[in-house]
Symmetry: C2
């Protein structure tokens, strides 16, 4: 039984529900426990509410914590599943969960609910979780688990292995064992592989790698993901500014981060949130409407701009034929530049921003000349009007230059204002490029009107 | 020393080069070996060619294999680094590399070079690698490593641990031990965690999970990534159609796949390859020019279409003012639909294609009505012309509907023709939407001309 499609999930849910309905609780627990952790979570969320009312009563806190650790739905939905249980049971499950997931859930609750749950937890747990909640969203601190294995230097391999075995159930990852000094400052890392392949009586010092790569709790999750992806780590330690070990970020969280960041960049480029494909048509429409209407209103400025030049169009109606190609090509060039800019800032390489801007301009300049010449020649062949050909070619070239400039300056400016450039999505930049190219085009056309009207 | 920026990398390269230049080969090897694997690769690629000529001579095959396993540059560049060494040395390094990376390199070579290298390898290695090379790009087979740990059922935990220790150096991942039958068919999986936390004298049977999730060698890498991301696995076994265990895909490869797929979808949306930000301005321009010119040529069709209606524009020049807003809004709606469609097909959920198409249409319909009414009302207030307001509002609504249809039908059709919908990038769909909306707009305007001209 693999729950890799909706039908199989539905069958499993149906089968398990039947076991509860017919009072075969033990068989239910047997089958449920044999599922993979991810599947337990899928099934639990899909059970009818009345069945869940029984299910959480017959499960121990550890099993329920596994379910809640593995739910991949909106935090708000997870919270409402948790609130199906009495407060104390909910608090016990939160305590049994991995600290990073627990913190995520608490962050999705109203302040009053958080206080209520915290009041029901042991004091040391409250202290720890309060620290985690304080880390900004999308930082290493908000991603890290506090369940890791740390030992002191000079311990014997066999003693470390005893600790590994003892903590294996609890720690999120036992692939690395971290070595700390008396003040819990991170000084090295030992791989489980090395522990297993060296004599028991040796101390860990000779297999400790002191060139341990770590991140700071306040580091951006994108940068953490980049390091983990580059180094092919299974997990990475997180420290504070004095190198005290605070927790670890595991690769499964990194996989989610990379996916999330990519989807957010991509969604921004299309002005639509693609992260939730299960939405109903109505929700999907409702979510898209605000953006489309905003763009419509912004687009009205283009209409007003063309309206200003109504007199020019009356003189030479053929000018209208070139509006879409000039605005569209400038928009395409702008979108290309924006895509590079977003990924560029996304990589956190701001220091090379100026060098990139210069590169971008040389490249936009080449593009502008080629595109302008192509459109000019085509227009000359089609309309046989040198003045018109010159006007549209020049307008296109200048519009492409303007678009490349706008696509870079707008996100760069927002970046300085600490607004995520990803929200400067493709259609928005395309709209701004429309304004610029219409202004450029009709200014040139109006200025050169005498050169091509009546010829 | 962390090599997390260019300056630190440059310093490390400079320092290591000096050691070779001054004949301190042992010190060079000491320092080089203390680097992380990813850093070894970075440094090796950046060493001056003359220094590399010495470096590969003083490194053993294992160290060089680690370097070549961890290089994250174009396969072609890796091949040229390999070809700096004699053929036999190159062949030995290939053999010492992980099989998946070895196969990737061989696939980047001309057939003649491949034959030359294979001729210098042991026969059993050649047989194994030839199988790997045969898997299609972007499948589980092309991603998998053949270095894994498999044991027979009913073995004792202590015996398995002995094998774990023995193979730990070689296997890419020892977090899971796979259990196979006499025909090497996959029947279960044991986690290293369970091996360490259960008594040595027990057999593995009681800790073997027989509900092992695996993928087939021909499965698409996107689907493999989805399973690994959902289940939070560190690695996943790959089998053939008869369940014979062939290899494993590890999470570090999955991280690369997710990144690669997201970048490719994103690049398609903007018609620019964002995967290489280190390009020179000239290369960047050259790469963008073909797309921009293609779109320019396709855009000329819009120009010709408007040209057909030159007479209509002569009668009512104000019509020109609404070209960008109608074509632009339709393009935005089309881009949103496309983004959803690309991600949708990207998730391999084709079976629900029709349901999604219907949802999409209901949502496009709602959007179309709202946008049409808004533009109609604004136009009425601005121009005080009921006929014109009706014409532009109707044209916008119909254009949005057409755009949503086109954005879905074009990739769906290409998908049936087995062309990756990701290449139907945003600007291309926007251009097609331009054609449709111009045709719709001017047809309606021409038909209703008498209703608003002279009023």
């Amino acid at each position: 039984m693999e729950l890799d499609n909706d039908q199989q999930l539905e069958n499993a849910v149906h089968e398990l529900s039947n076991l509860i309905t017919t009072g075969q609780d033990d068989l239910f627990m047997n089958q449920f426990t044999s599922l993979h952790d991810f599947e337990k979570a899928q099934v639990y969320a899909e059970l009818p509410a009345a069945i869940r009312e029984v299910a959480w009563r017959i499960m121990d806190d550890e099993t329920l914590a596994t379910v809640f650790d593995n739910l991949e739905i909106d935090p708000e939905e997870i919270v409402s599943l948790l609130q199906e249980m009495p407060m104390q049971k909910g608090a016990d499950i939160l305590v049994a969960m991995f600290a990073d997931n627990e913190a995520d859930l608490l962050q999705a609750m109203p302040a009053r609910t958080v206080s209520a749950y915290l009041a029901l937890m042991p004091a040391d747990e409250v202290k720890e979780i309060k620290q985690l909640i304080n880390y900004d969203d999308e930082t290493a601190g908000s991603l890290m688990a506090t369940e890791y294995l740390a030992v002191k230097q000079s311990e014997k391999i066999k003693d470390v292995l005893v600790q590994v075995k003892k903590q294996a159930e609890e720690a999120e990852s036992i692939i690395y064992v971290y070595v700390v000094d008396d003040e819990h400052r991170l000084i090295g890392v030992v791989s489980l592989r090395d522990l297993l392949t060296h004599p028991d009586e040796m101390t860990i010092d000779s297999i400790t790698n002191t060139r341990v790569i770590s991140v700071k709790a306040e580091n951006d999750q994108k940068d953490v993901a980049q390091v983990v992806a580059d180094y092919n780590f299974f997990s990475i330690p997180v420290t504070d500014d004095e190198d005290h070990l605070l927790g670890i970020v595991t690769v499964d969280d990194i996989v989610d981060v990379i996916d999330e960041e990519a989807v957010s960049d991509y969604s921004g480029m299309a002005a639509v949130d693609v992260s939730d494909t299960d939405d109903t048509a109505w929700h999907s429409a409702v979510k898209r409407i605000p953006w489309l209407l905003t763009l419509l209103v912004l687009g009205l400025a283009s209409t007003a701009l063309v309206g200003i030049f109504e007199h020019t169009i009356r003189e030479a109606p053929i000018l209208a034929a070139f509006i879409t190609i000039i605005a569209g090509t400038a928009g395409n060039a702008g979108t290309q530049s924006l895509a590079l800019a977003v990924r560029h800032f996304g990589n956190g390489q701001d220091q090379s921003g100026w060098r990139n801007l210069v590169s971008e301009f040389i490249s936009a300049f080449v593009l502008a000349i080629i595109a302008g010449v192509v459109l000019g020649v085509v227009t000359l062949l089609w309309q046989g009007n040198q003045g018109l050909a010159l006007a549209v070619g020049l307008a296109l070239a200048l519009s492409i230059l303007a678009a490349s400039l706008l696509a870079h300056l707008v996100p760069a400016t927002l970046n300085k204002l600490n607004i995520d450039p990803a929200i400067v999505n493709g259609p928005l930049v395309a709209t701004v490029c429309d304004w610029a190219s219409i202004l450029i085009y009709f200014s040139i056309a109006t200025g050169m009107l005498s050169q091509f009207v009546g010829k």
